[in-house]
């Protein structure tokens, strides 16, 4: 049996024809493509909801939608963007790239890989269908705090089911990534020789396995509170609604890092390529990633300073949160040090990666401000928080994903990137994203509350600015779609290495990458030797 599998020749067959190729897909590239396309679709749906929110906030007063629907839009936008757009996009990149980066033929458990993808459309069909239910979609925010979430109409159990299904999908995807990375690396690729993207995903996968069941537990308890007469979070029955917040954020804060750690990995692949220098402080990057993952589990209550907690608790969560700045600072320092005296060029992926470093750091700094307990009492539930997490997630996670797509697209399609249209997309997106979210800091500092469809007239100017920025950013994503579509359709043939500073096993494959990559384990090229030889090639 094992001999048969080990020597089975795949040359005799390619992908299945037609729709069966996608429904029964077990190939990591096909599944990666489906994840990425699904994520793009969700990004557009969630983005459309953001446009509705910004249109409503264009002027004070109520314009287009009633407050209940506004709350549904805020809730669905967040759930779709977090679980439907950002997470599946990074899983898609992992599916495509991890086997190629570690010299494996595919993911370790291809059939489970198929299941973990196909659960996602099921989950999001259920979630989005709640928009058409009597009483409307969930409207208590993505945090689903009781008791307000228990006022959701018939949509409530569907929301809980959708969260469970997407959780099962994430856990299956994580298990697959862990067993693939631990068991399928090419001989010679020790743990500390793995590409940073693989490392960040390995750590992220462990985070997912520890965090997602906590969310599932929380929503299960909500469900039994609603239908089985339990009182986990019902004060009248002896329960405690604040306990839900503790449980939710014990999941929720690691979730933030689940979205951003793979982004760190992508940027750590791109910057060395375009600086033409080895990543500065590789092992410190690995340890910093692990430290961030550990710290992410002991900072949760900084999201809920205002519920009232003992001083010791406030101090603990304030200092532990500030400690995250240390490993994060190590990373930013290492990216900058990699670029220092590098032979830099600024192709589209590098521009997005650079914007990530700058703009994610702005989000990091406002996070430090929010970590200060007494200051948080003023900022809590204002637009300052909205500005903070959007800086971390949009020019942070989303820009890193876009950087990754532009970086690896030529390897996927076999066509060189059109730098002109790529750079147009970059500049329009970068300018508009700052016009959207930077004014929100000022709105928050001035006291504008989040999740309210109306506001006092003194907030009008910054809201107009923010809405205009959001509309332009929304439209800029059509350029992203066009660039992907145009690249997939044709263009100048890409070389195997694609970018002349690229290093790693994935670049030894042909462009486009063959349907079955690395039938036999490739020779592990020592990174040190590879960088030395490329430097020699450059200077000679």
């Amino acid at each position: 049996m094992s001999t048969q599998v080990a020597t089975h020749d795949h040359d005799d067959h390619g992908p299945e024809k037609g729709i069966k190729r996608w429904i029964f897909a077990t190939n990591h590239k096909d599944i990666g493509t489906m994840y990425l396309l699904f994520s793009l679709a969700m990004f557009m749906i969630g983005g459309f909801m953001a446009m509705i929110i910004r249109a409503e906030l264009f002027q004070p007063g109520l314009q287009f939608i009633d407050p209940g629907f506004y709350n549904s839009m805020v809730t669905m936008h967040a759930l779709i963007m977090v679980f439907g757009a950002v997470m599946p996009a990074t899983v898609g990149l992992a599916n495509w790239m991890i086997p190629m980066m570690i010299g494996a033929p595919d993911m370790a458990l291809p059939r489970m890989n198929n299941w973990s993808f196909w659960l996602l459309p099921v989950a999001f069909t259920i979630l989005i269908s709640t928009l058409f239910m009597p009483g409307g979609a969930p409207a208590a925010g993505w945090t689903m705090y009781p008791p307000i979430v228990l006022q959701t109409g018939p949509a409530f159990p569907f929301m809980v089911l959708a969260v469970h299904v997407m959780g099962v999908s994430s856990i299956m995807g994580s298990i697959n990534i862990i067993v693939t990375v631990l068991n399928m690396r090419t001989p010679g690729m020790t743990m500390l020789k793995m590409p940073l993207f693989v490392w960040t995903w390995l750590i992220t996968a462990y985070l997912l396995i520890l965090a997602i069941p906590v969310l599932a537990g929380a929503v299960t308890m909500l469900l039994t509170d609603h239908y089985a007469a339990t009182s986990f979070f019902n004060a009248a029955g002896g329960g405690d609604p604040v306990m839900f917040q503790h449980i939710f954020w014990f999941f929720g804060h690691p979730e933030v890092y689940i979205m951003i750690l793979p982004a760190f990995g992508i940027v750590s692949e791109i910057i060395p390529t375009f600086a033409r220098k080895k990543l500065f402080g590789y092992s410190s990057m690995v340890y910093a990633t692990a430290s961030i993952a550990f710290l992410s589990f002991i900072v949760w209550a900084h999201h809920m300073f205002t519920v009232g907690m003992p001083l010791a608790g406030e101090l603990f969560f304030m200092f532990s949160t500030m400690m995250i700045a240390v490993p994060t600072g190590v990373k930013v320092f290492n990216w900058v040090a990699t670029m220092w005296k590098g032979s830099m060029t600024f192709e589209t992926p590098m521009l997005f990666a650079l914007a990530f470093v700058f703009l994610f750091t702005i989000g990091g700094f406002s996070g430090l401000m929010l970590a200060i307990t007494p200051v948080d009492f003023q900022y809590h539930d204002t637009y300052f928080v909205v500005a903070h997490f959007h800086y971390v997630l949009v020019p942070g996670a989303v820009f890193a994903i876009m950087a990754g797509v532009y970086y690896w697209l030529p390897k996927w399609t076999g066509h060189k990137l059109n730098e002109t249209t790529g750079k147009w997309h970059f500049w329009v997106a970068t300018i508009s994203i700052n016009v959207t979210f930077f004014p929100q800091h000022f709105l928050g500092l001035a006291g504008m509350p989040r999740r309210i469809p109306d506001y006092a007239t003194q907030f009008t100017d910054f809201n107009v600015m923010s809405s205009i920025g959001a509309f332009v950013f929304g439209l800029s994503n059509l350029m992203f779609i066009y660039n992907i579509w145009a690249n997939a359709r044709g263009g100048e043939k890409a070389t195997d290495r694609v970018w002349d500073g690229a290093h790693g096993l994935e670049w030894t494959l042909s462009s486009p990458a063959p349907y079955h990559s690395f039938e036999t384990p490739p020779d592990m090229v020592d990174d040190e030797t590879e960088w030395e030889s490329s430097r020699f090639a450059e200077s000679s």
């Binding site: 094992s2 001999t3 599998v5 080990a6 370790a108 458990l109 489970m112 856990i171 994580s174 298990i175 697959n176 862990i178 067993v179 631990l182 068991n183 399928m184 396995i209 520890l210 997602i212 069941p213 906590v214 599932a216 537990g217 929380a218 299960t220 308890m221 039994t224 339990t230 009182s231 986990f232 979070f233 029955g237 002896g238 329960g239 405690d240 306990m243 449980i247």
Partner: protein
């Protein structure tokens, strides 16, 4: 080679089952802890 390949597959499956059980354990432990301690009164 055969043995190594077989071992690798076995290790992969064992590891995957272990991780899945870990996830189920965290889920059950959370609900169980709150059920026993206070919640379901």
């Amino acid at each position: 080679m055969d043995v190594t390949e077989q071992d690798r597959k076995r290790r992969t499956v064992r590891m995957a089952v272990g991780l899945a059980l870990a996830a189920v354990f965290v889920y059950a432990a959370y609900i169980g802890y709150f059920f026993v301690s206070a919640g379901a009164s």
